[in-house]
Symmetry: C2
Subunit: 335 residues, 2 copies
């Protein structure tokens, strides 16, 4: 059995920089038509010049793959109308991380509802720039996303023409929030369709399944699965693929992030196939995002076949999601 | 400032075997008057002969420390009146692990309420043998202990003269259950008085804070703290100190267990001191257990002084709780 996925899109990926970028960028560009590249480098991507330079570095590695990296700016309170107007021709997306909440987010946005933040949201709304938010508070780890939901509602209500993406949602609370305002959308990762906290910490502790937001309860995972398998039109795939060198995962203080880019499409095919929903995969990994962002992606077709595939133990120094496991689907051809 | 602790007791410790035992047994025997030694070796301590032989191996390492290791048997459904009567002269305690729930518990007690289990509880009640239970179900990791509580209630009600120890409790649910029957008691570890899931997985993932049951919410920790600081007479200290070689903690599938034996008394002194409850520490780490188990421990006095102590980064190949951190209290003398 085969399926064709046209123009697969990863709406949330970390391509890093330097050596790590040279390993992971080609693993995304090979299978995806384009990808939305997160800006949390050190220092972060703060303005158009940073973003263009970062894009050039990525393209030097992916130039032959019919792939476009779309760039995001790091939300900060010194963004001005001038910066945003200049950015608009190059960058449609801005990513907001509440302070401290994840890798390289330290010391930035203290309150997503500050007057300054709202002023910037207003300019973004006017200019048609999309707002992506890592929606977590600093509360108890299992409550952080659910407790953030009132912020989404307040922003969505105050800025009805601002497109707001609830990034990598992990809870039933977020799934339930999605349809409360027409301008709220979401991305979902691969791992949050499969795992719960039981997989991370229920038996042995699994650092390679540790990410932010952390995987939650079974009812949360099932709510996300329902959104993805039904190809809910406001939801698109964003892998949040986040490579870390092995020694920073298997250590006393393990970094947050799951590396899934090179095996996302294969595992997604398995998930959708086993649920009898293969017909909806095209929408989840491409069509929905095309509609939400009103974009025209590069033309690329990935042909997957139902044939055992053993996920590599490592890609360079990075242990991928489900390393060493055999899955039902493999990539036959990219054209 | 100094305090004296007379006859400190660790009511739950893993001394392991072979090389690891030779490292950790002396670290317990040095500071504790005696300790209740868990039986989950591979294979487990199944009968009196196993227990006596294990005790001899421990004593060969701790013989000069005025220390007594008290032995437990591993609960299994082949325990008979004959085995228990023979054990009674040597072993007052039996430890029950539901199948699969923690290190080396695989494949044992499927149901704590089976007819066979109840028959054994009845014999133990008659012979005055104490039942220690690792009280977790196989449910979602954050619910396992709370969901186990009905089992405690059922056993406590059916066997009113059986002394039942709810081991290493981690939840407000367990704290609330403690006083429901006069024959229910509990132990609490060091780390569960301090940490929550936020410390384990809220920021970086911390394998050296990963244990079973996993640390829970702030309200759970606070309920345990209240029991300990008030020296609730049904609660005693059980470190559940569980050493694992570093490479089995910092790896793709990290073993469960926190190693705290050599620094427990110092950190407990800090906790009780900072809460203004130093007067209750003697009860929590000794007197309560003496009353609950009706025992006469060896005479040993540990003198602690309020003086900075840097916790070692490692003991042999084991990273201890709070490795490298400076705490307020140190051990001045043992006599």
């Amino acid at each position: 059995m085969e399926i064709q996925i046209h123009n697969p899109l990863d709406m949330h990926v970390h391509l890093r920089d330097a050596d790590m970028m040279s390993v992971v960028a080609p693993l995304t560009s090979k299978y995806f038509s384009w990808a939305l590249v997160m800006p949390n480098l050190v220092p972060p991507v703060m303005n158009t010049a940073d973003a263009i330079w970062y894009r050039q570095r990525i393209e030097s590695l992916t130039g032959n793959d019919n792939f476009t990296p779309f760039m995001t700016l790091f939300f900060h309170e010194w963004l001005t109308r001038e910066i945003l107007e200049k950015a608009k021709d190059h960058i449609m997306w801005i990513k907001l991380y509440p302070a401290w909440i994840t890798t390289n987010s330290e010391g930035w946005v203290k309150s997503v509802l500050s007057e300054k933040a709202k002023e910037i949201f207003g300019i973004m709304e006017e200019l048609g720039i999309v707002l992506h938010i890592h929606g977590e508070t600093g509360d108890f780890v299992m409550d952080r996303e659910a407790n953030f939901m009132p912020n989404y509602l307040e922003i969505a209500k105050a800025f009805p023409n601002l497109t707001i993406i609830m990034e990598h949602i992990t809870t039933k609370a977020a799934a339930d929030t999605l349809d409360m305002f027409p301008n709220l959308y979401a991305t979902i990762t691969l791992q949050h369709l499969e795992i719960t906290l039981d997989d991370v910490a229920g038996w042995a502790l699994k650092p390679h399944l540790f990410c932010k937001p952390i995987a939650k309860r079974y009812e949360d995972r099932d709510a996300l699965l329902e959104l993805a398998l039904s190809a809910h039109p406001k939801v698109s795939f964003g892998s949040d693929s986040a490579p870390h060198p092995q020694h920073t995962k298997e250590c006393p203080g393990c970094a947050a992030g799951v590396f899934s880019a090179p095996i996302s499409l294969q595992v997604l095919a398995q998930i959708f196939d086993r649920a009898g929903k293969l017909d909806n995969l095209q929408k989840f990994v491409s069509d929905n995002a095309v509609n939400i962002y009103k974009i025209t992606p590069n033309t690329k077709t990935v042909i997957l076949e139902k044939k055992d595939f053993v996920i590599p133990e490592k890609y360079w120094d990075v242990v991928p999601y489900r390393a060493g496991e055999t899955i039902d689907w493999s990539i036959k051809e990219v054209k």
